[in-house]
Amino acid sequence: MNDMRLAERALTTGDIKISASNVDVYYGDTHAIRSVDVGIPAKTVTSFIGPSGCGKSTFLRCINRMNDSIDSARMTGTILLDGEDIYDPKVDPVQLRAKVGMVFQKPNPFPKSIYDNVAYGPRIHGLAGNRADLDVIVEKSLRRAALWDEVKDRLSAPGTGLSGGQQQRLCIARAIATEPEVLLMDEPCSALDPIATAQVEDLIDDLRSRYSVVIVTHSMQQAARVSQKTAFFHLGHLVEFGDTSHIFTNPSDERTESYITGRIG
């Protein structure tokens, strides 16, 4: 862990992008999230850390209502995106997910061409008027995902034929092609080797200038490397939330300290 880097990291926190209050989530009888309150700032990388089963992925999936598709999941409390309640009955989750993109743990490109993978979102949201516009969006997204140079000569090749790291960057390109405001990443590097992980981490750092990025990770080093804010979850509780430098150097809660020093988790 690079403590120098942590210390000199300047925070660009401005407005609160996502604000959750009193969020409880149940899977059937299991109480997975217990009254979580958190304010995630705009144009910042926020990482969720904590031991397995602590509810960090569940909370992440609440932010774009991916849990809606699980029959047994039930959620109470409010989550505001730019001050609007995303669980308001008037909100269509489809419209929400266009604003809040998601990258999953395992790279999951569609079994279609690289081009079609990236172009799918813009197509269904009607972001491109014609083929030329779409070409521009695809190129821009692939460039931003640092994948353009590797795939520009084989855009019609299947996305599933890429290496694991390339697939994950393709999924990131696909997610940012719809110009979301928030990008949720659920352990995006857990299936990648160290080199691909480094590439994706660089990418996440670049993305900060345009999006609010929320990343769930099992690797505390990764959280320290890429995020400005860190939230520590334990047994469904949000134990501590604050500046990454603060959490990793001087945690206020005993449980946080135990976790980052490797005593629990």
Binding site: S69, Q95, M102, K106, F110, P111, I124, R174
Partner: protein, 451 residues
């Protein structure tokens, strides 16, 4: 727990043995494995043997139905006998029945015998004429009615020979059996041999087996599969047009949209049960609903098609749901993650990936429906149908036959020539089934994606 034995001596110490000598246990295990392999091989061989016996016996008795003995005759068509009023009025021409045409054929045979110098003792003209099929006068009459200008001329016709003469060249009839058979005489066989030598008789491929309609007990040589093939094809079209969309729509709804509750569980169990319901039960259902209640015509492809649709739906639904289940959830999540609606995620991503499995299931369901016989017995599709059904959609309501029913029908006829016909029909049916299954295998291997 495993710690409790700690400190105690193990009950039995493994003796020191050489790796080069098989111990008793290993030897026994190897023996039982060898036995198991032998049983497996035995089972596979028994299955293969049964298949070989089945196929050879069907081919043996059925292949001959694709060849037939034909006789080519010069027939004179005297107007004074066929058109007594001489005005070529179709209504008057129609009054002369096939009985009026039969003597012309007998005369033509006699004329051919004279031309080729064939004389046979104890063969009457009537007997000589009887070597030609009883179908021939009808064929002659149809030709004259269609072309009245041929009257008062001589025309060359190719007729089928009588089933017994044909059977003589297929080994079914011999001089010995002819002596006991009042339908054929030894003299007729001698005549046939002489005509064959003269080139009047010939044995060649019989296309009309695939195009002719069924024929009566008296003329097996004229019986064909035309109406049965059309009827089966019509029913397959109906089944495909109804069962595929309904089955796929139902599966997509159940698999992707319906809530997981007791009702859907109940529906699922019942669909699985329906797939196991004997087909004759569907026949009763079809009789009660489509014929007695809805008043659809008996023996029509529409009723057969509807019954087969009911029967095929569970198969298609089960196959489609399995294919949809096999699409990994990560694909659905990816689609939802970029803001696709549920419907978009299903139709853009899940369904294309499941398509090979769905098509395979559908084709297998269709193949099963094609070979189904029992339900037809109940909806009157065993009738003797000689008229070709009209072109669709009207033809769906005309009486028709079906391939398996035609097999069933022919096996019940008394004339031994129908055994060959039935086996031939089985070959045709099997060829269709093999083609459909090959298509299913091809689609599966060609389009199936792996993750």
């Amino acid at each position: 727990m495993s710690d409790t034995n700690h400190g105690h001596e193990p009950a039995r110490i493994r003796p020191k043995t050489s790796l080069l000598i098989l111990d008793e246990r290993t030897r026994k295990r190897n023996q039982s494995e060898a036995r198991f392999r032998f049983y497996g091989l035995l089972a596979v061989s028994a299955g293969l043997l049964a298949l070989i016996v089945l196929v050879t016996s069907i081919l043996n008795s059925g292949l001959s139905s694709f060849r037939q003995t034909f006789v080519t005759l010069e027939v004179s068509l005297p107007a004074d006998k066929l058109d007594k009023k001489g005005n070529r009025d179709p209504a008057d021409l129609r009054k002369v029945s096939t009985f009026g045409y039969a003597p012309l054929i007998a005369a033509a045979v006699a004329e051919a015998m004279v031309r080729h110098g064939i004389e046979i003792d104890g063969l009457s003209d009537k007997e000589a004429g009887a070597i030609v099929s009883k179908e021939a006068p009808a064929q002659l009459r149809d030709h004259v009615l269609a072309n009245p200008q041929v009257l008062d001329s001589s025309q060359t016709f190719t007729f089928l020979t009588n089933g017994r003469i044909d059977g003589y060249y297929k080994g079914r009839v011999s001089a010995v059996s002819a002596g006991r058979d009042k339908n054929v005489s030894v003299a007729q066989l001698v005549l046939a041999d002489a005509l064959l030598a003269a080139g009047v008789l010939e044995n060649r491929f019989n296309w009309s087996f695939f195009t002719n309609p069924d024929a009566s007990d008296q003329r097996p040589e004229a019986a064909g599969l035309g109406v049965a093939i059309i009827g089966s094809a019509y029913m397959m079209v109906i089944v495909l047009a109804l069962a595929l969309p309904i089955g796929v729509a139902a599966s997509i709804y159940l698999e992707e949209f319906a809530a997981n509750n007791r009702l859907t569980d109940l529906i699922e169990v019942n669909i699985a049960n329906l797939a196991a319901v004997p087909s004759i039960v569907f026949g009763i259902l079809g009789l009660a609903i489509f014929i007695n209640f809805a008043g659809l015509p008996q023996s029509a492809p529409i009723v057969g098609g509807l019954v087969l649709t009911l029967m095929t739906l569970p198969t298609i639904i089960i196959a489609t749901r399995a294919a949809l289940k096999a699409v990994p959830p990560s694909i659905r999540q990816a689609a939802l993650g970029v803001g696709a609606s549920k419907m978009q995620s299903v139709f853009h991503h899940v369904l294309p990936l499941a398509a090979p499995g769905i098509l395979t299931g559908t084709i297998i369901g269709l193949a099963r429906a094609l070979g189904e016989t029992a339900p037809f017995l109940l909806i009157g599709m065993v009738a003797f149908v000689r008229e070709y059904p009209a072109a669709p959609p009207d033809g769906f309501f005309d009486p028709a036959s079906a391939l398996p029913v035609q097999v069933f029908n022919w096996t019940q006829r008394s004339d031994p020539a129908f055994v060959e016909r039935a086996s031939g029909a089985i070959i045709v049916l099997l060829v269709f089934l093999v083609l459909m299954n090959a298509l299913a295998v091809f689609l599966r291997s060609r389009f199936e994606r792996r993750w």
